[in-house]
C-alpha cells in the first residue's frame, strides 16, 4: 500500500496490527496524547517475511509539538519508542504535526521505496 495514510486509516490500520504495532500505538498515545495517530507497518515493502514488523511509519498529531522544531518533535517520538528502536524496530518514518498544522494540511507523503538495504545486512540480535 503506497497511498496516503488517510486512505488506510479506515482499513487495516485502525487499532489492529501485530504486537509491535500495538506497542507503538500504546506508547505514543501515553507519551504524547495525540489528537490523531496513525501507525503504518511498512515491513512487507522492505523484503522482510510476513509479520516481520521492522519498518514503521507514524503520523502523530499532538499539541505537545507546539513551539518545538522538527528535530525536538522527532526526539520526543524516539524517546517514547526508545526500547523498540534499540530492538526490533529497524526504521521509523515520523510525521509530527501540531493540531493546527494537521488541520491546514492533512496530506502525508508516502514512505520512500525500499532499495534493498536491509537485505544486505545481518539482522541485529
Amino acid at each position: 500500500m503506497r497511498g496516503p495514510l488517510l486512505a488506510a486509516a479506515g482499513g487495516a490500520m485502525g487499532g489492529a496490527g501485530g504486537p509491535l504495532a500495538r506497542t507503538i500505538r500504546a506508547k505514543l498515545t501515553a507519551a504524547l496524547q495525540p489528537t490523531h495517530l496513525e501507525v503504518r507497518d511498512d515491513s512487507p515493502h522492505h523484503g522482510g517475511p510476513p509479520g516481520a514488523e521492522t519498518h514503521f511509519g507514524v503520523l502523530v498529531v499532538s499539541g505537545r509539538f507546539t513551539g518545538l522544531p522538527l528535530l525536538q518533535r522527532h526526539r520526543l517520538v524516539h524517546e517514547a519508542l526508545r526500547a523498540e528502536l534499540a530492538g526490533p524496530l529497524h526504521a521509523l518514518q515520523v510525521i509530527a504535526r501540531t493540531p493546527q498544522q494537521w488541520q491546514s494540511d492533512p496530506r502525508v507523503p508516502p514512505a520512500p521505496p525500499c532499495l534493498g538495504g536491509s537485505k544486505r545486512e545481518r539482522r541485529r540480535g
Binding site: 522538527l70 528535530l71 518514518q93 514512505a111 538495504g117
Partner: protein, 160 residues
C-alpha cells in the same frame, strides 16, 4: 591472548562497568567519557566529530550517493541533488559497523540516514524532506554559502 592484553581488556571492561556501560564493545567504551585512552576507533566521539566537521554538508547513509542501498538514504541524496548539492561528504555506514553505532551515539538519534550541516545535526530523511518542502533547506544552504539550484529554476520560471 597474552596476559598483558588480557589484563588490558579487564581494566577496560572494569572502567566501562564503572561508567555503567558494561557489555558494550571496548572500542566504544574507550571512545566515550574522558577519551583519555586516546580515541577508540572510527565510532568514537572524536572520530565522528572530525567527520561531521570536514565539510559543510555531511551525510551518513547506507550505500553511496551513486548507489544508495536504502530508500531513506536515497531520498536524502535525491533532495540534495534537486538543490544542486553534489559536492558533499557521504559515509556508508554499512561499510563500518563502529561508525554506524558511533554516529547514532553522537547525535543520540536511532536511525540512518543522518544529515549534518556545518557540523550540526539537522535530522534524518523525514526532516530533510520537510525542510525541502517548506523552503527551510534553501535558507540553510544559503547560510553555508551554497546557492540552491531551485532558486535558479525559479528565476527561469519568472523569465518565461
Amino acid at each position: 591472548m597474552s596476559a598483558a592484553v588480557r589484563a588490558g581488556w579487564r581494566i577496560g571492561a572494569a572502567a566501562a562497568a564503572l561508567r555503567g556501560r558494561a557489555g558494550r564493545p571496548l572500542s566504544q567504551a574507550a571512545g566515550e567519557g574522558s577519551g583519555a585512552e586516546g580515541g577508540g576507533g572510527s565510532g568514537s566521539r572524536e572520530a565522528v566529530e572530525r567527520l561531521v566537521r570536514e565539510h559543510p554538508v555531511v551525510v551518513f547513509m547506507k550505500g553511496s550517493p551513486a548507489q544508495p542501498l536504502c530508500g531513506f538514504s536515497n531520498a536524502v541524496v535525491q533532495i540534495l541533488r534537486l538543490h544542486g548539492v553534489e559536492d558533499y561528504r557521504a559515509h556508508d555506514v554499512l561499510q563500518d559497523p563502529d561508525l554506524r553505532q558511533g554516529i547514532k551515539n553522537y547525535s543520540n538519534w536511532p536511525t540512518i540516514p543522518q544529515v549534518y550541516l556545518n557540523g550540526e545535526f539537522v535530522g534524518g530523511c523525514d526532516i530533510l524532506l520537510q525542510m525541502h518542502q517548506n523552503g527551510d533547506l534553501v535558507e540553510e544552504l544559503k547560510k553555508l554559502g551554497i546557492r540552491s539550484a531551485l532558486l535558479d529554476a525559479e528565476k527561469d520560471q519568472e523569465k518565461k
